[in-house]
């Protein structure tokens, strides 16, 4: 990103923040997806939003974007109402699944440029800063070579990367990413994480939902764990614990304990605990593993169809 560009100065004003207080969201069919959820985030933060399928993560994002109106409670972004924050181009959003017409006659370039509309004049004529932002965002997600492709002529992961690039090019102070790493290869994921770190050091606020529990301690400084309501929220070190995760995930969490000869050829008494709900497992070394492994339990390495021990 080029933080010094003239177009960006307009959005550099308000300090990014998200406040969700006592929010209850109900869908038209009567399902209460989120009830009485509260959390607050400040500038210079990457916050992970974790929970099982159907726990209300996407619902939180849609509420933050103003697509869903809370039945109770209130949401504010950068100290304003959602609508005002959107008008000022403060918020960029990558939905979990894009609801766009893939046969629409637009190129990758055009789609990323759509992120810049908020920075442009009334007629949406791109300036050099806008073109630079597009180039930069495409380079970040490794999509420069595909920039002249029609948007439907891409693979699923490539499409995802284009929409990530659009959010990056938009450069909002608050960036909402709903499962950005699903279907994206590890190399791209690492590049995106690197970029998010850069954005954090510029003082931006990012909220990221993900099932890659393992990578959360690497790059997220805050965690919000939800299951219909907020189960725990706070700094990663104190919040992202096995106890909290078990509360929120219950039986959906796979839990492996590896020890003895699975890990070492020598007689090392330490154990490794692997917790995963989906993709990258969370690995905890030693101390949390209080229980003894069942006698003679020789669990395989996690990647090779391991026997799993369901926790409730």
């Amino acid at each position: 990103m080029k933080p010094a560009s003239a177009a960006d100065l307009r959005t550099a004003g308000p300090t990014p923040s998200i406040v969700v207080s006592g929010v209850t969201v109900r869908y038209a069919n009567g399902v209460t997806a989120v009830s009485d959820a509260s959390f607050a985030l400040g500038p210079g933060t990457i916050c992970a939003l974790v929970g099982i399928n159907g726990s209300g993560k996407s619902t939180i994002f849609k509420t933050l974007m103003g697509f869903l109106k809370p039945a109770k409670g209130m949401v504010s972004i950068a100290g304003m109402e959602v609508r005002d924050a959107l008008k000022r181009g403060l918020v960029a959003y990558v939905p979990q699944a894009e609801e766009v017409d893939w046969s629409f006659p637009v190129l990758v370039d055009d789609v990323v440029m759509m992120g810049r509309y908020g920075h442009m004049n009334f007629l949406r004529i791109p300036a050099k800063a806008d073109r630079d932002a597009v180039d930069d965002a495409l380079a970040r997600v490794n999509m420069l070579e595909f920039r002249r492709r029609q948007i439907g002529e891409l693979s699923g992961g490539q499409r995802k990367r284009v929409f990530l690039a659009r959010a990056l090019a938009q450069g909002g102070q608050v960036i909402l990413l709903d499962e950005p790493f699903t279907g994206v290869d590890v190399k791209t994921e690492d590049a995106i994480v690197g970029l998010m770190r850069d954005l954090r050091s510029e003082g931006r606020l990012m909220l990221v939902s993900t099932h890659n529990l393992g990578s959360i301690p690497d790059f997220c400084d805050q965690v919000v764990i939800i299951n219909q309501t907020v189960m725990a929220a706070g700094p990663t070190e104190t919040t992202f614990t096995q106890d909290n995760l078990q509360k929120a995930f219950g039986g959906a969490l796979r839990h492996f304990r590896l020890g003895g000869s699975d890990l070492h050829d020598d007689a090392d008494g330490r154990r490794v605990t692997v917790i995963t709900d989906d993709e990258r497992p969370l690995v905890l070394y030693g101390e949390r593993d209080r229980e003894k492994l069942a006698g003679g339990d020789k669990e395989g390495i996690a990647r090779d169809n391991p026997k799993s021990e369901r926790q409730t």
Partner: protein, 286 residues
């Protein structure tokens, strides 16, 4: 020979017919780009029928019939948009329901109190006999619509492509769509008066569909479609001088010819290109 070719320009009514057709053709082609992409191509057809109750009522109340047509056109367009948003019905069902309802109401009004408005003239239009007031009216509607479209085409593209992103950059998709439908209704009515329902339908479908075969970029799509709309309309009106009157038919035939050419020869999305690509895949294996 040259004298013969220039002959139509010697007549005021021919000159008028040519430029009015070109203007209407251009603005309808612009609108066709959006309609085609949303699966709303038949909206033009629906609107052309949906104005009947407005025309009949305007006649009853002794108002200018363009006013009635415009109001009932907008009402129909908004009703379609509303039913679409509030239900999960697809576009074709929504358009069908609204347009038949409006048309039925129109027929009912006409049958209860017969009007002297010739429904035939609405269906066929009469560009060669267009009055000067009508020319002014059509020119103003078309010019204002064109200015708005040129100013807002990117915002409308964003709303049609990705409503969520439109909201994220602070646009209101609802307001944008209402603007679009108001323009569509106004242009449909203007075009109806001059070129007839039949032609309006062709004009808000064919240019966009043809251009879509030729490009993958929305900006170029608009340029190609509008150029095609303007040129075919002007040439069609001009040629109708020699063919005695069938302006609408001439324009539609020209547009259809261009569509068929694009369908066969378009560099990327045409039939020949598809066949070539299929062939190229087979050859290396041989």
């Amino acid at each position: 020979m040259i004298a013969l070719l220039l002959e139509p320009f010697g007549y005021q009514y021919m000159v008028k017919a040519i430029w009015v057709s070109a203007l209407v053709g251009g603005v309808c082609a612009f609108l066709s780009c959006y309609l085609m992409l949303k699966g709303w191509s038949l909206m033009g057809d629906a609107l052309a029928h949906a104005i009947v109750p407005g025309v009949a009522l305007a006649y009853l109340l002794a108002l200018p019939y363009a006013v009635g047509a415009f109001l009932s056109g907008i009402l129909a367009a908004l009703a379609m948009a509303l039913v679409r948003v509030r239900t999960r019905l697809r576009e074709d069902a929504v358009i069908g329901i609204v347009f038949t309802t409006f048309f039925a109401i129109g027929l009912l009004i006409v049958s209860i109190s017969p009007t002297s408005v010739n429904v035939q003239s609405i269906v066929l239009g009469n560009i060669l006999g267009i009055s000067d007031e009508d020319v002014v009216q059509v020119a103003i509607i078309a010019a204002v619509s064109l200015v708005i479209l040129v100013g807002r085409w990117k915002d409308m593209m964003l709303v049609f492509f990705d409503e969520n992103q439109a909201r994220a950059v602070g646009l209101s998709p609802t307001r944008m769509k209402i603007l679009f439908f108001v323009l569509l209704s106004a242009c449909t009515v203007a075009a109806l008066q001059t070129v007839g329902a039949c032609l309006v339908i062709a004009m808000v479908v064919t240019p966009g569909a043809t251009a879509y075969l030729l490009t993958d970029r929305f900006g170029r799509l608009i340029v190609i479609a509008v150029t095609m709309g303007v040129v075919t309309s002007a040439v069609g009106a001009y040629a109708s001088y020699f063919l005695d009157g069938s302006t609408g038919g001439m324009i539609v035939v020209l547009q259809t010819v261009l569509f068929l050419l694009a369908f066969a020869f378009a560099p990327k999305h045409g039939r020949l290109a598809a066949r070539r690509a299929a062939g190229a895949q087979v050859e290396p294996a041989v």
